[in-house]
Symmetry: C2
Subunit: 340 residues, 2 copies
DNA sequence: ATGAAAGCGCTAACAT
DNA sequence: ATGTTAGCGCTTTCAT
């Protein structure tokens, strides 16, 4: 009915002070049973909805956190968002999702949201801080948790996986199937994550007593197209690899598509392993063997860490490493030695 | 440096009133050149960042709008989000993305965000209003724009596509390739969008002078698995269809995967058309013929409508219909009549 | 258990 | 062009 109902209207109606109404809402135990009921009746009668603007100004909190990713179009992030959101809702927080597309200006924009108090804190999944940001500066103190990616030379609470170990395991898996010529399609190697997976690949080869061959390593950019291009290079080698470990699922799918077009069947002629276990991995044909990370849990844990930080709890500089696991599907097979 | 710098600190430093500082920031033309510079210098000196909480309370606006979808995990929505976000940033608005997962409680939650003034308005892509919501009620007046989906019996500003016409065109496309037995895998028919696409399919058949056959219509739920199941049913028919129009891309991909596993090549033995042109459609094997909608533009337009509404401009009850187009790719081919 | 009163930081009348 | 003043709606001491 009324266009604008404030706490004062409720107070008047219930015959109490605004302070009592506020208490009845936020700290019911500090108000007598009878009063509480009277207040509730008044609230219903005038159709009162608390205006959080007033509260926010008073408490200097917005109840909103921002999840910053590079590319919101990447379905990979959505599962993490789910985890973050679920944990946030439990605590009455809202989650804003923003993406930077590697643009420095936008990276800063999200930081400014916190500085302007439009949000309380940040979960960073961009792999970098905005240029010029110094963690030590009191003036720029922004509650942050780094998820998934991690930052070199910066000590911030982090939730991540061990990319080296996971890649090593994936490579070992292929070696265990009898493969000897195992290629790797990596991500852009300036990025820490790509380097880690590449390092893991090398370590995996070494574990299996296999010599590395730089010709078997092709740089990509995590796109399906990059997987296609890499395939052309790899199949032209003499001898060609019998297995490929890709730094993500999209590139693995590109490899499979290109290989098939080149007349090489997967997994009969080429075993392919991806990384991430995106939704389509399971439904690809053939279903993709890949490395799964506990995305939802990562998101959840990141929010928990951030919430603790916001609540003023001593968090220290957490560095939580979540477990990964190989998901064997039909894109990999034992090497059939078809020597003459 | 300072933990908390307010507009008063700047005013003191610049030797002006807080009102002048506020003006220098928001209406620079109402302040003399000299003053403006002095204020700016003071701002830099004390490292002042405006606290939007104060402004929000004063202006009764948050500068935030919420994009409500059913399932945030559906990559289809992301392109729309991009359009919304881009248009929002131009206007200094932020976009919060929320998903309901068809849960009534959560549907209401986003409405309450606006009622509690945690957000200024809603872009609804859920295809329904929360239970009990009446557009007429002044008390629940919430700025809303409906995108993509539209609501029966409710007059709200809407940005959408013509699903009937698009489906009709898709069916006509298959008929134009010579197909006579054209099947349809629909979405859940209680939903308006699914019904529209089904109606369009029927109209398309009629256009081509083809008799409908209810056995050729299979209900799905927009999942890849549903596409797979539908395929089993369709291939068992006598004679089986030579073409399938699916109500979305995921189901089309399920159909293709299942057909191939059943020994039916696409498009040689079966032509398949999807709907939505999701990112993977282009990279599927074979690349999927589908109906593309201008997602980014839909998002952009929806935000423009909402922004106008928030600005108090007379919007009326807009009903904007955006154009769709068929994207021919390799999952469809002319029917080869292999009659004996 | 409840009330009175003082702001949180900002903007917008209204003056000058 | 600039200053004064009065809140926006809420929470939270501090009293009682």
């Amino acid at each position: 009915m009324a266009a604008k109902v404030t706490i004062a209207d409720v107070a008047r109606r219930a015959g109490v002070s605004t302070a009592t109404v506020s208490r009845a809402l936020k700290q019911p135990d500090r108000v007598s049973e009878a009063t509480r009921e009277r207040v509730q009746a008044a609230i219903d009668a005038v159709d009162y909805v608390p205006n959080s603007l007033g509260r926010n100004l008073r408490t200097q909190r917005t109840g909103t956190v921002v999840l910053v990713v590079r590319d919101i179009g990447n379905p990979f992030y959505l599962e993490i968002f789910r985890g973050v959101e679920a944990a946030a809702r439990e605590r009455g927080l809202s989650v804003l999702m923003g993406h930077t597309e590697n643009d420095a200006e936008r990276e800063r924009w999200y930081f400014d949201m916190v500085r302007e108090r439009r949000a309380d804190g940040l979960i960073l999944m961009t792999g970098k801080l905005p240029p010029g940001f110094r963690v030590t500066a009191r003036s720029t103190r922004v509650p942050i948790v780094v998820a998934l990616e991690y930052l070199e030379d910066v000590r911030l609470p982090t939730v991540r996986i061990d990319n080296v170990a996971a890649a090593r395991e994936a490579t070992a898996y292929l070696a265990g199937l009898g493969h000897r010529r195992i290629a790797h399609v990596s991500g852009p190697t300036p990025e820490l994550m790509s380097r880690d997976r590449l390092d893991g690949y090398r370590a995996g080869l070494a574990d299996a007593g296999l010599a590395g061959d730089e010709a078997l390593i092709v740089r990509g950019d995590y796109s399906m197209a990059a997987g296609r291009e890499a395939t052309a290079r790899l199949l032209a080698l003499e001898p060609p690899p019998t297995a490929v470990f890709c730094a993500n699922d999209e590139m693995a799918m590109g490899v499979i598509a290109a290989a098939r077009e080149a007349g090489v069947e997967v997994p009969a002629g080429l075993s392919v392993v991806g990384f991430d276990d995106i939704v389509f991995a399971r439904n690809f044909s053939p279903p993709l063997t890949t490395v799964a990370q506990p995305r939802q849990e990562i998101g959840q844990r990141a929010l928990e860490l951030l919430a603790a930080q916001l609540a003023g709890e001593p968090v220290g500089v957490a560095d939580e490493v979540m477990p990964t696991r190989i998901v064997p599907r039909a894109s990999t097979a034992e090497l059939v030695t078809s020597k003459t």
